[in-house]
Amino acid sequence: MKWREKAIEGIFALCASISIFTTLGVIAILLFESIAFFRKVPIIRFLTETQWTPLFAKKHFGIIVLGSATFLTTVIAMAVALPLGLMAAVYMSEYASERARRILKPCLEILAGIPTVVYGYFALLFVTPLLKKVIPSISGFNALSAGIVMGIMILPTVASLSEDALYAVPRSLREGAYALGASTRQVVTGVVIPAAFSGIMASFILGVSRALGETMIVAIAAGQTPRLTLNPLVPIETMTAYIVQVSLGDVPTGSLEFRTIFAVGLTLFVINMTFNVLSYWLASRQRRFKL
């Protein structure tokens, strides 16, 4: 019976190691196709050209075009998610009654569970027409709508993680400040948030990471026109939207155009990884320096 126990353990270990294979698989395929791509298109072109036209006759491969779009939508999304998320976290952590928290927290979770394609619908067919009333010059596809809706989608993540960070601040710190006659606002802004700073930054950066990788909202509402700009009112194309565009088209597999999605994917992966690691490091920093 001893070998049967060992066999069972072996199978379970194999299942657990699939996670390692998945990561290796991701890195492998991204590198494999990207290297083939960079044999034809030197990296320097990829990084410095200012146009992105791989599907046209005259091909340009400036990743910065797609990158600028991703950057723009991410910044707008975080401009929404950061303040709202942090403030919501403060409310839940410092002001809300137990009953209020029990009702509001699940509601925020629902917000996080809505499929992104539904958010995309909302951005294109509700938010954009609404913005058009306020900003007539805005076009049907733009970064602003997509960014705002993305921000709402990420808000629960930022709120939840920031709340954990605030919760981790020891009660003794708060009580010392209250005992000096400080109001909640003063305690929160003066003592609690600074103490939870690393954890809050970690939640922000995780939010950024999610915004970077978001696909459907931008594919539906931000447009599929690669354009190097920081204007939030015109159509653009993010890195993720480009991959979708190619996947929907008739690009023959194995061609140079096909390989571009992997080069873009690799760029996305590297940036995303960097932010994830940064976020993890910041979160662990708060844990370590907890008083």
């Binding site: 699939i18 539904v118 929907l248």
Partner: protein
Amino acid sequence: MKERWLERLFKALTFISTIIGLLVLVILLIDVLKDGLPRLSWKFITSFPSRNPDEAGILPALVGSAMLLILTALFAFPIGVAAGIYLEEYASDNLFTRLIEINIANLAGIPSIIYGLLGLEIFVRALRGITGGRSIFSGALTMSLLVLPIIIVSSREAIRAVPRSIREAGYALGATKWQVVRDQILPVAMPGILTGTILALSRAIGETAPLITIGALAYIAFLPPLSLKALQSPFTVLPIQIFNWVSRPQEAFHANAAAAIIVLLVLLLSMNAAAIYLRNRFQVRFE
């Protein structure tokens, strides 16, 4: 006093921030219901897509989503639970275990479209012979990889919640590790594991990007055959159908998209409700 006003303002701001998200949610739901409810009908649910928006329906998308869900569950559940059991009951604190745990945490943070690229290269292209290329089989394998980290994490939590005393009692009677896991730990942990799995699958049902990337088509006018061959057939899913209709300029298609969204949200709601019901009904509570 100035501070009194600042305090009131601050508190109000924090409250508004919390409410804004909910407000947007409510507006979104009202908007979708307004646009989609008129279009929702039994005919809509049972028709195929069509160039004519009034005749188009979601049947292949619905069937595709259902099949994808079942297949993904079939792959991801056993592997995820097995991995969870290994990490909680068998693994010791060595490099291998640490590596696995880092990877699982990592994978949860990768954009879903990257999973699509992975599925495209490995399942659609490299393993074309087995999977049939851009098939529901490839889709299920890709989605399994996507939800695996979630299932592993919730399995671990459910297993960890089983009190140590149960394990000790089992071992003290002369049982092997697998006997204790199979007969004492898993039955107690199963409601928690199932709840986590259903929640993971409810995320999968709303995923669009990775499936587009592996080539789930946007216009499917047939249903997969009722045989094992179905695994290798092309397919579409509800979110992709929604995406397709939203991307058309005609308003009539937008109404279709809204109606399809309602169906998707109802499915999601049902799955989450089922998960919560399961957990409340079957969870073993220890004094």
